[in-house]
């Protein structure tokens, strides 16, 4: 076995049942060098303080549960290596979200944003199971593939300066998802979604900070999606104008 090392975790605690405001608690534990941040938090929960609340499940960077601020940066903690940090590590709940308890944040608002972009295939005529799969070339798949990789970890919302000021902002992941369907060759719903995108608090609120793409643990590049979505929403609107001026449908 490799050698254990001492590290101190300063963790933000808050229980609305008993606390007026958040406080911090320090835990000094011995860690294995190969651990991820999440391993240390789980160790604290199991062995030191079972009253600590946090979310996690897959521990393989795919379920999106375990986002937290690590030394002030939004990180996916089951992916984040301990070895990259010093002797003292600060852990707090994802910023830009209301806190429910300890490291657990309120995410219903985040979930509602997904519904707004109609993240499903829209077609004039629905297919039946018997019709079999549609065709889609590998190139058409490649168009949207990257934007379909989002694990809903919410790190980009924590990093986004617009979300910080304007909590209603649709935000990077939801826009990337709507855009993902817009550019899927099987979908015919772009007009509906572009209407959403042209509304208030969506693509045009983005200030090009690019923070979202920098923190994204899955290389979704939501900033690129927002840019493309912006462009498409404008073109779509302009074409709509031209068509209506021509008097055609």
């Amino acid at each position: 076995m490799s050698e254990r090392q001492k590290k101190t975790f300063v963790i933000t605690r808050f229980d609305p049942d008993t606390d007026e405001v958040p406080k911090t608690e320090s835990y000094e534990i011995e860690v294995e060098p190969y651990w991820k941040i999440l391993d240390a938090i789980n160790y604290i929960k199991d062995e030191v303080d079972p009253s600590l609340s946090h979310r996690w499940s897959c521990r393989m960077a795919v379920c999106g549960s375990c986002g937290m601020m690590v030394n002030g940066e939004p990180r996916l903690t089951c992916k984040d290596r301990l070895s990259g940090y010093g002797d003292t590590i600060e852990i707090s709940p994802l910023s830009n979200f209301p806190v429910i308890r300890d490291l657990v944040v309120e995410m219903d608002g985040f979930m509602d944003k997904f519904n707004q972009v109609k993240p499903w295939i829209i077609r004039a005529k629905e297919l039946a199971a018997e019709d079999g799969p549609m065709r889609q070339s590998p190139e058409e798949l490649e168009e949207f593939k990257q934007f379909s990789m989002c694990i809903n970890c919410m790190l980009c919302y924590s990093a986004c300066p617009v979300v910080a000021n304007e909590p209603e902002f649709l935000g990077p992941a939801a826009i990337a998802l709507g855009h993902r369907y817009n550019i899927d060759s099987r979908d015919e719903g772009a007009a509906e979604r572009n209407e959403v995108f042209r509304g208030e608090g969506t693509v045009f609120s983005c200030s090009y900070a690019n923070e979202c793409s920098e923190v994204c643990p899955k290389n979704v590049d939501p900033a690129a999606a927002v840019n493309q979505a912006k462009f498409n929403a404008v073109i779509d609107w302009a074409t709509g104008l031209v068509i209506s001026r021509d008097g055609k449908e």
Binding site: M1, S2, D15, D17, Y34, D46, E47, D49, P50, S51, S53, H54, R55, W56, S57, C58, R59, M60, A61, V62, C63, G64, S65, K79, I100, R101, D102, V104, M107, D108, M111, F114, N115, K118, P119, W120, I121, A129, E130, D131, G132, P133, M134, R135, Q136, S137, P138, E140, L141, F144, K145, S148, M149, I151, N152, L177, Y181, D184, R186, D187
Partner: protein, 574 residues
């Protein structure tokens, strides 16, 4: 305070692949019905998300239902029910096509058709894939598609603690809102359990933290038997230490397994897999690895002995295009880039073939109660599941359970309010007592660890009477010690210690059913391999096992006939 009661037509417990598919099926069967979907995590966190390799369904010219059916029967070591298997193979392509219509980004051939890959125990390429993040894409496609149905009302982060049953008919569930610690009654005229597997009863598993067998325990305690629980699938290739899965697709794409002498031992020695070699079924390959290690041909690592999964000959381009997650996971969790070096692996607990006993409709012995997905045992998988059949199973039988629950709900009244309230009040009292339990000598994490240890030592890849009996005895003791746990967290808000305590009790139920059924089955079949009874015994054991809950004592173990059909049991050799 009066307990709040909410009513839906159909209540679904679970928001993974099976639960979401069931919800969509109900919504499509009758748009007037309201659906309550309760899940202890937000649906996209369900463990379906972690599935990597693919979903099986006949797609190619060189394939047919007969072949998929026979592969599945043989894979099950003839313990799969053949009517179920025939229905499954016919529905499979339709279900995967629907998923395509709903946006799943299946990988494609040049001509735009859906691509398929080879998988263990499958005689041709019939596993549909979306690189090696199939469960992730399936789950997100299903979840996103489900959002268009406003009649699906979600209860996210709510933990079902009890089924509310009255005179043999299920009337709803008691559900604890993890957010505020309040218990509610969620009533339904039919209830579908889709709560997933129970891999966390073992220490070394590919399963996530939430796979604690809750639904199995809920049904079991309500009187439904658990079926074929002794059959626990070990996947041959987990990363030492974490248990994170390296998908079978790595071998499907051409990877080799090698021992310390760099031999492809599946080719060099006879482990029953024949020319299938690395693409033999999981039970056989897991046994082969253990035998290689016992023969001194394992490699030594920080987490014990292991074998190598060699992908270096596949080249970076193929690895990146077909199995990018394999590369991502092994770089991240074991510091190996498979383009350059072999990946250390060892057999790891992966999947429960057993579960809640259901018929082909997903119906259980309690009227109105259905189950689908990994928590259920509809008897598709028998004694050994073929990789990539279970994602499809979630769809095929999730949908069927949904439709059958709709039919059932039409002819049934709502039941007695007073009776349900009385049951819910008992639940509130029980949970409050647990939350406030400060005295007691036992710690949840310690008991869980001891349960895990005994399951591994008694019910691992190879089993024998003595070690299984030892597990049974240890579990007896753990059951008693469970009453002596104390909790440190008294909060109502997001009390994960309280949830863990209840999950532990569920795990103990499942573990006990596994160990007790394993002892009784004195033969080797599929994933259940006994050193003291090394052969299959169709004379005495060609039947399912049923474990019935008995309060205060170990389960009663009974049997149920296997539905045979056109495929006669034969020696399982590849």
């Amino acid at each position: 305070m009066e307990i709040e009661s909410i009513s839906h037509d159909i209540v679904i417990v679970g928001g993974g692949g099976a639960g979401l598919r069931a919800a969509i099926a109900v919504a499509e069967a009758d748009p007037q019905l309201s659906i309550g979907m309760v899940s202890k995590v937000y649906p996209m966190r369900s463990h379906t998300v972690s599935a990597e390799g693919g979903a099986a369904a006949v797609a190619r010219e060189d394939d047919n239902f007969e072949m998929h059916g026979f592969d599945t029967v043989k894979g099950s070591d003839f313990l799969g029910d053949q009517d179920v298997i025939q229905y499954f193979v016919q529905e499979a392509p339709k279900e995967l096509a629907l998923l395509e219509h709903w946006g799943c980004p299946w990988s494609r051939n040049e001509d735009g058709s859906v691509a398929t890959r080879a998988f263990g125990g499958m005689s041709t390429k019939r596993t549909w894939y979306a690189t090696d993040k199939v469960g992730f894409h399936m789950l997100h496609s299903l979840f996103q598609h489900s959002m268009r149905f406003e009649q699906i009302v979600r209860y996210d982060e709510q933990f079902v603690t009890k089924l509310l049953v009255e005179d043999g008919v299920v009337r709803g569930v008691a559900s604890l809102n993890i957010r505020d610690g309040v218990l509610r009654i969620i009533r339904g005229r039919a209830v579908i359990l889709a709560t997933g597997g129970a891999g966390k009863i073992f220490p070394f598993t590919t399963n996530g933290n939430i796979k604690t067998g809750d639904g199995m325990s809920l049904a079991y305690r309500a009187g439904v038997p658990l079926k074929d629980m002794e059959f626990v699938q070990y996947h041959p290739t987990g990363l030492p230490g974490t248990g994170i899965l390296i998908t079978e697709a790595a071998r499907g794409e051409g990877g080799y397994l090698r021992n310390k002498d760099e031999e492809r031992f599946l080719v060099e020695r006879d482990y029953g897999v024949g020319t299938k070699a690395e693409l033999g079924p999981r039970d056989m390959i897991s046994r082969a690895i253990i035998q290689e290690i016992e023969a001194g041909r394992g490699l030594e690592g920080a987490h014990g002995q292991y074998m190598n999964l060699d992908l270096t000959h596949l080249g970076e381009e193929k690895i990146q295009a077909r199995i990018p997650m394999v590369r991502e996971l092994s770089k991240l969790y074991i510091d190996v880039d498979p383009v350059e070096a072999p990946i250390p692996i060892r057999p790891v607990v992966h999947y429960m073939m057993g579960g809640i006993d259901t018929d082909i409709d997903g119906a259980t012995s309690i009227r109105g109660l259905y189950a689908a997905g990994e928590c259920a045992s509809v008897s598709l998988n028998g004694a050994n599941r073929l990789g990539s059949n279970s994602l499809t199973e979630c769809l095929v039988f999730g949908a069927r359970a949904g439709r059958c629950a709709v039919d059932f709900s039409r002819g049934i009244d709502e039941g007695s309010d007073a009776n349900l309230r009385a049951q819910a009040e008992e639940e509130v009292a029980r949970i409050e007592a647990l939350r406030n339990k400060r005295s007691g000598n036992e710690k949840i994490s310690r008991l869980r660890e001891e349960l895990n240890t005994t399951m591994e030592s008694g019910c691992g890849v190879y089993r024998e009477e003595g070690s299984m009996q030892a597990s049974c005895e240890t579990i007896d003791v753990i059951k008693q010690r469970l009453a002596d746990v104390s909790l440190q967290d008294g909060s109502r808000v997001f009390n994960t210690e309280l949830i863990a305590a209840m999950e532990l009790a569920n795990m103990v139920d499942c573990a006990e059913a596994v160990a007790r059924c394993a002892v009784v089955r004195k033969e080797s079949r599929g994933a259940h391999t006994r050193r003291d009874h090394p052969h299959r015994d169709d004379q005495n054991f060609l039947h399912h096992s049923l474990a019935y809950y008995e309060p205060g004592s170990p389960p009663r173990v009974g049997t149920k006939p296997v539905t045979l059909g056109k495929w006669e049991p034969e020696e399982r050799k590849y």
